[in-house]
């Protein structure tokens, strides 16, 4: 399992995201920003907000949970892919190499977080890339940049100076369904 512990000094980076879901107001700016940034086709999504109502009238409570690919430490989508089109960068970002994807959809089925979709235009598989093209330029993912209530914090787990690292060092958090064994890397603050 991936942890937030620091590996040797100038270790490889390990990108992850902290989500402060309590601040989410369900404005879906992140969903729109992702669609625009990555030209995600109509009808499919790389990120979304899970809405859950709880309690009994009149003490109702609505909670919003931003969801997307968890860029797992041990991603089952990568394991099952028969061509190696699904792969993981050294910094943890899980990607699909479009040219090698045969569209067998095995990875869609094997992802416990339902984070992948069949792209109706290319007939290959798509998913959140953590905006790797932006990250490689030193920027943060589009959803992080756009969120008006600062729900999302993106950063390097191995960098003790990062905001993400400090949040995880001082706040309590959980990951979703760790029993999948995938080692999800979206940290939800409690």
């Amino acid at each position: 399992m991936a942890t937030k512990t620091l590996k040797s000094s100038k270790a490889i980076r390990r990108f992850a995201m902290v989500i402060d879901a309590k601040k989410c107001i369900n404005c879906k700016a992140c969903v729109v920003a992702c669609k625009a940034e990555n030209q995600v086709p109509l009808g499919v999504f790389r990120n979304w907000i899970d809405e859950e109502a709880s309690g009994e009238y009149p003490n109702l409570r609505m909670s919003f949970d931003p969801e997307q690919c968890h860029h797992c430490a041990d991603p089952s989508c990568v394991r099952v892919c028969p061509t190696g089109a699904s792969w993981q960068r050294k910094d943890g970002i899980v990607l699909v190499n479009d040219d090698d994807c045969i569209g067998c959809k095995y990875c869609i089925i094997a992802c416990p977080y339902n984070a992948r979709y069949h792209n109706p235009e290319t007939h290959t598989v798509g998913k959140c890339t953590f905006c790797s093209h932006r990250v490689d330029r030193g920027e943060v993912p589009a959803c992080v940049e756009t969120c008006p209530s600062k729900v999302r914090v993106f950063g390097d787990l191995h960098d003790p100076k990062s905001h993400l690292h400090q949040l995880l060092a001082t706040r309590r958090y959980e990951v979703k369904n760790p029993q999948t064994g995938n080692g999800p890397q979206l940290y939800y603050l409690l």
Binding site: P82, G103, I109, A110, P112, T180
Partner: protein
């Protein structure tokens, strides 16, 4: 719940792949068992050999058509991913398909082989290199038993693979148990046997009593084994963690309950078992004489095939609706 991304093409593929594995297995067994120095059930063995290559070929074609990018399917064979069941399975299927074609060739008579070759257009036939021609002229019947032996593990592997493809996905608790592979294997072998019952009864040459005895005892054993896997699958699942219990609800009160209990367990498993046991009673009890009632035997065979299809249908669709939540 998300929409299923694997649908009927995959159901058909799993069924047809398993059917071929079963046909090969039953035929190989019939070849392997000897009586007075030759195979004891030559008609069964031959029918199995003649039928085995086709379902799996059709199934693989369907699988390729189901890909988002069918013209890229060859990429599977250029990236060997040993942790991906689909990668291993594709190699296995390829080997099995070639083997079953070789086995079919070995079970053809000399004249049949010649007449098949005579159908190749003259221009092409004269171009066949002498070395290949010598191979084609070889009397392959001596190879039948060897091919049968080599084929046992491969056919069993294909049967298991159809289950492992689903069972190795830890994200879907309905599949992710250590019983699915065996369930699919025994169901596959049973479908193959049932298909031979049907083939042999529709054959022009009347079926012999000892052949029916062979097929019946095999099919009864396989169905019983399958039952002994389906029941623990349900019981163990009910005693398992919440995710598995929730997944099993698909067939225990959920949308697939009726299909599972009526069409699979009832019509597809217990009914043919009852018919076969009833027919086979004289042999089991050692009392009375064993007759063949073609109508009953055909019904039982057809139902087994139907049950095998239902099992795949339920697993492919119900499994995708399950997850951790």
């Amino acid at each position: 719940m998300r929409e299923p991304v694997w649908e009927f093409l995959i159901v058909n593929y799993l069924f047809l792949g398993g059917l071929s594995a079963g046909l090969y297995f039953a035929s190989a067994l019939a070849t392997w068992i000897q009586e007075d120095g030759r195979s004891a059930y030559p008609r069964i063995a031959r029918w199995g050999a003649l039928l085995a290559p086709w379902p799996v070929s059709l199934g693989s074609a369907l699988l390729i058509l189901d890909l988002g990018k069918p013209f890229r399917f060859w990429k599977i064979f250029f990236h060997f991913r040993w942790r991906s069941p689909m990668s291993i399975g594709s190699w296995l299927l390829l080997a099995f398909t070639f083997l079953s074609i070789a086995y079919l060739w070995a079970w053809l008579d000399q004249e049949e082989r010649y007449s098949l070759q005579a159908r190749i257009p003259e221009k092409l036939r004269t171009r066949i290199p002498a070395r290949v021609q010598r191979w084609l002229d070889l009397d392959a019947s001596a190879w039948r038993r060897n091919l049968a032996m080599v084929g046992f593990p491969i056919a069993v592997g294909v049967g298991i693979y159809t289950g492992v493809l689903l069972g190795a996905v830890q994200a879907r608790p309905f599949w992710n148990t250590n019983l699915v592979a065996q369930m699919f294997l025994f169901s596959a072998l049973s479908s193959g046997t049932a298909a031979l019952v049907v083939a042999r009864l529709l054959d022009r040459e009347p079926v012999e009593l000892k052949e029916m005895r062979f097929l019946y005892s095999m099919d009864i054993t396989l169905i019983v084994l399958e039952l002994f896997i389906v029941l623990p699958y349900l019981i163990h699942g009910e005693l398992s963690s919440l995710a598995v219990k929730q997944a099993l609800a698909q067939v225990l009160g959920g949308p697939f309950t009726i299909v599972f209990w009526m069409l699979f367990m009832g019509v597809g498993l217990l009914l043919p078992l009852t018919i076969e046991l009833f027919e086979f009673k004289p042999v089991i009890l050692g009392k009375g004489t064993f007759h063949i009632q073609p109508r009953w035997a055909l019904t039982a065979g057809g139902l087994v095939l139907f049950g095998g299809y239902m099992l795949r249908y339920i697993f492919v669709f119900a499994g995708q609706a399950t997850g951790f939540r």
